[in-house]
């Protein structure tokens, strides 16, 4: 699999995404935000960070970067896109995913482990994860409080487009397990076609036992299997 890791000014999870993907045998290439060609990547990653210093609003400036046209074209053609943390914020600002990310309910930055449970099993990012499996994946953000209006939420639930919810270690989706106040404990959402995922937790950090766990690899591996299957077909 080939992955394109988009680097905006202020992105800082690019190296971690390269690290995690290369450990899974994926060829990962960084793409500077001024480039307009993402090559023949199977997966486009919008990593975490503070693109443009979060000035104006998280992700609000990055969505105008030249590379975003190529990212949108890739998604429109059915290619896989994952936005992590700031990447999720950018996808929401770009209108590629519904909803917004507000300031954490605590009004503080939070860097801590969280538990996630997949809330659907049809997307390329979750199909390979056994139902009910709880993943321990850390968060690191000040503005990860997911919100959408009632109509949008109803649509997301009806179409099963919530990809992950925050839960406790036993998989219970409980208020105490919600680290940032996200509505309905939503940690990640999908677009209508299910090929674009945005999530606040950082699967690239849960990528080695040495770093305290490798549950994040399940998400990458699921996407990898989908790409390999499509290629074989």
């Amino acid at each position: 699999m080939q992955a394109a890791i988009v680097v905006f000014p202020g992105t800082w999870s690019d190296g971690d995404c390269v690290f995690a993907l290369e450990r899974l045998g994926v060829t990962a290439r960084r793409v500077w935000h001024r480039e307009t060609d993402i090559g023949d990547a199977d997966l486009v990653v919008l990593p975490g960070g503070f693109s443009y210093g979060d000035y104006l609003r998280c992700g609000a400036i990055a969505r105008f970067s030249p590379v975003m046209q190529a990212v949108r074209a890739h998604a429109d053609a059915g290619g896989l896109v994952i936005g992590i943390c700031n990447g999720f914020q950018i996808l929401c600002e770009a209108g590629m995913l519904p909803g917004i990310l507000m300031r954490n309910a605590s009004l503080q930055f939070r860097c801590q482990p969280t538990h996630l449970v997949p809330a659907e099993h049809r997307s390329p990012f979750t199909a390979g994860i056994e139902p009910g499996r709880v993943l321990q994946v850390p968060i690191s953000h000040g503005e990860g409080n997911y919100f959408a209006d009632t109509a949008t939420l109803e649509m997301l639930e009806a179409e099963q487009r919530v990809a992950f919810r925050y839960c406790d270690a036993d998989g219970r989706v409980a208020a105490e397990a919600n680290p940032n106040g996200s509505v309905a404990n939503i940690a990640g959402v999908l677009n209508e076609r299910r090929n674009v995922l945005g999530m606040m937790p950082h699967p690239e950090r849960a990528s080695a036992a040495l770093l305290g766990g490798e549950d994040g690899n399940a998400i990458w591996a699921s996407a990898l299997a989908r790409v390999e299957a499509a290629r074989a077909a």
């Binding site: 000014p9 800082w12 999870s13 690290f19 503070f50 210093g53 503080q108 860097c111 690239e204 040495l210």
Partner: protein, 737 residues
């Protein structure tokens, strides 16, 4: 230019120092020249009172790659072509006035010191001191500083992995904010901060220059008083987004195009003045700067404002002439301003132009030759009496379990989670041992090695006996590093004291430096970088003498790392001292201060023995005997064991341990040179005991981990109660959830 007293006071230059400058120049300086000289001769830049004492420090060793003080930070050889650079620096005065920006720009400044050397910053630590949190202003300073550290470090994408925070009334009006940074890279990518090669251009990169921070170096060299609030314009404002771009551009330059440049230097205190003059001094050259070519943030700035501005996120690059265009293109690709503002000369002068006019011209040698003062020292007369206080005359503790829970929940010991969960401590996917343990452990990717980093200083011990207390700071920092399995290799320090012109303070400074030197020599850990921050005083008095130590350790096999987490079934042992301790072991302890309201007793350390105990832990770990380790420090044995239980989420039954007849000394005494360790089985225990016997270190079996209670002699508490006390401490003190 006849100079008046008000001008001299504004720039913190004495009349004698002014006369010295006139003598060296053989004329009166103009306003620009006076401002430049005053900045470089300030305590902050010129180390007028401390430099003569630095010669006591051991600064060389087989791993040391840089001459101490020669570059922005010390560099250590890690083997196989890898090296580490690290340094700690204070940002105390700005943080006292404007805590968020003061702390944020402290982080920014120390990062630039590291990537100016071509290394990638991989870890930040912060050693903090505040007045107690029951005071609203202290809460404001504390939460502002924590937010500022997080706001900057989180945005720039370098993990904040450790440090410490202590609270004491002596830091009330004058908090200490010491930021440390560790960078790593290949030895061949190390850069120098020198302006070599006359004719080479001087390129200013990054932020535009504004009026912020003018005379910041001077401000940092005087005591704080009621008027200090008016110095708010001397505090700079940080832009971590710009810093991130600078970081990436500079690391790319070092890693891929080091041959394009002669030198790279950050702009810190005294801005363009100190960066250009110091770079020229290193190379034995001169500089010629045209301030009209410096991009401004605001109109109407005078030449001395441009030269002394401390606007953040700027770097000075000295490219080779033939690679100027390459260098400019590289920075512009990172969307940074890069402008030629002058050139290197061979005349040994700092020549400052404003377009066609020469605004000032002063020999580099004058600027880099600040006056040096012999400290007039006097031992504080109350020290002997305080040390001689009979602690055995104090009533022994009557409620050991209650006292333990009170200590665990106290501001100085409680869990720091409230702080570090606001810091991104995981970005760069290298944090193997996160905050909350003895030292942070950072994986050196591409190898099996890891680097341990810790900061430490117990100002009470230093106050009671400066030489011993400072040695204890080194010992504790080294123990922290050893407790994760790493061998201590080098030290950076940040010397925080009051006004050196007062003899009692001068004594603290001199003796502390001697104590640091004693310990560093014994442990074989040279001092490779550092910083001094004096005049940490308010009208209420000076801060506790706080020579903060930053220790770097190396662990060759990251899989051999240790943490305090004991596992069910582990046998837990105390190394380094008998279990029973006299009341004298409470000297300078948290228990004595919090329970009895006194800072007294005689601190003591046997450095050779300390080194032997540390060696024993490292040897035992290399043989695979240990499953956990924890250093004994604040709160003594009982607190250390509680922390081991909390980390491992298990109880420990040491109820049968004979702790002697002085409960407070045994449970809460803070005698040095002690560790708690755990082993998995009797064979490992026997091997450890044999090893300890060879080195003459006492081993005491405490008990077996398991269950959900900590029992230690008369102490009996559930792990749940310990956790509630420990985790709830800071939120309770802050009145927040």
């Amino acid at each position: 230019m006849p100079v008046d007293a008000a001008t001299l006071e504004r720039i913190a230059l004495s009349r004698d120092e002014y006369e010295r400058l006139v003598g060296m120049l053989d004329r009166e300086p103009n306003e620009l020249e006076l401002g430049m000289a005053a900045a470089l001769w300030s305590e902050h830049c010129g180390y007028k009172h401390t430099r003569p004492l630095f010669r006591h420090f051991p600064t060389t060793g087989p791993r040391v790659l840089t001459e101490a003080g020669a570059e922005n930070a010390g560099a250590i050889d890690l083997g196989d072509g890898w090296c580490a650079v690290f340094k700690m620096e204070s940002h105390n005065h700005p943080s006292a006035i404007e805590p968020y920006e003061g702390a944020a720009t402290g982080v920014g400044g120390i990062l630039r010191d590291i990537f100016a050397m071509g290394m990638r910053p991989v870890a930040l630590l912060d050693s903090l001191r505040f007045g107690p949190l029951d005071d609203a202003r202290n809460r404001h300073l504390f939460s502002g500083v924590v937010a500022g550290i997080g706001g900057y470090g989180n945005c720039v994408g370098v993990p904040t992995v450790g440090g410490e925070v202590q609270f004491d009334p002596a830091y009330g009006g004058n908090p200490l904010v010491n930021a440390m940074c560790l960078g790593v890279g290949r030895v061949e990518h190390l850069l120098s901060a020198s302006a070599r090669g006359p004719g080479n251009p001087l390129v200013l990169v990054g932020a535009d220059t504004g009026r912020d921070g003018i005379h910041g170096a001077t401000f940092a060299s005087v005591e704080l008083d009621e008027a200090s609030e008016e110095r708010r314009p001397a505090v700079q404002v940080g832009n971590p987004f710009m810093e991130k771009l600078l970081l990436e551009a500079c690391v790319e330059l070092a890693e891929q195009h080091g041959e394009w440049i002669e030198g790279l230097q950050d702009l810190g205190a005294a801005g363009l003045t100190s960066s250009s003059v110091e770079a020229a001094a290193r190379a034995g050259t001169g500089i010629d700067i045209d301030v009209s070519r410096v991009p401004r943030r605001e109109a109407g700035m005078t030449p001395d404002e441009v030269m002394l501005s401390e606007s953040q996120e700027r770097m000075l690059v000295i490219p080779k002439r033939e690679h100027l265009d390459d260098v400019l293109a590289l920075f512009r690709r990172w969307e940074l301003h890069a402008d030629v503002v002058g050139e290197v000369t061979d005349d040994g002068y700092a020549t400052i132009r404003d377009g066609d006019n020469i605004a000032g011209r002063i020999p580099i040698g004058v600027l880099t030759d600040p006056p040096q003062y012999e400290l007039e020292t006097e031992r504080p007369p109350d020290l002997d009496a305080r040390q001689a206080e009979d602690l055995a005359a104090l009533p022994d503790c009557e409620d050991p379990t209650g006292d333990l829970l009170a200590l665990l929940g106290s501001q100085n010991i409680a869990s720091r989670r409230w702080i570090y969960r606001q810091y991104d401590h995981e970005v760069l996917t290298g944090t193997v041992v996160p905050p909350g343990g003895d030292a942070a452990l950072i994986w050196l990717k591409g190898t099996d090695r890891a680097l341990a980093v810790a900061t430490d200083c117990n100002g009470r011990l230093v106050e009671l006996e400066p030489r011993t207390g400072a040695a204890c700071a080194v010992a504790e920092a080294a123990r922290n590093v050893v407790a994760v399995g790493a061998t201590p290799v080098a030290v950076t320090d940040c010397l925080n004291f009051g006004n050196p012109e007062r003899p009692y303070i001068a004594y603290q400074i001199e003796q502390s430096i001697l104590g640091l030197a004693d310990a560093c020599r014994t442990f074989g850990t040279p001092v490779v970088s550092g910083n001094a921050s004096l005049y940490n005083e308010t009208p209420a008095g000076a801060v506790l003498p706080t020579p903060t130590v930053g220790m770097l350790g190396v662990l060759d096999d990251v899989e051999r790392r240790l943490t305090p987490a004991i596992g069910v079934g582990d046998e837990v042992l105390l190394l380094g001292a008998p279990l029973a301790q006299p009341a004298g072991a409470l000297a300078g302890s948290e228990y004595l201060a919090s329970r009895h309201g006194r800072v007294a007793g005689a601190p003591a350390i046997d450095l050779d023995f300390e080194a032997r105990v540390q060696r024993l832990v490292l040897d035992a770990n290399e043989r695979g005997l240990l499953t956990a380790a924890h250093d004994l420090a604040d709160g003594g044995l009982a607190v250390a064991l509680a922390e081991c239980c909390l980390a491992g989420d298990t109880g420990l039954d040491a109820g049968a341990a004979d702790i002697g007849d002085r409960l407070d000394g045994a449970l809460f005494g803070e005698a040095q040179s002690r560790f708690v360790v755990a082993v998995r089985d009797p064979a490992a225990r026997a091997a450890l005991e044999a090893l300890a016997a060879e080195t003459g270190v006492e081993v005491v079996a405490l008990g077996t981990a398991g269950g959900d209670r900590l029992r230690l002699g008369p102490v009996d508490a559930s792990v749940g109660a310990l956790r509630e006390a420990y985790e709830g401490g800071l939120p309770r003190a802050l009145g927040a959830g």
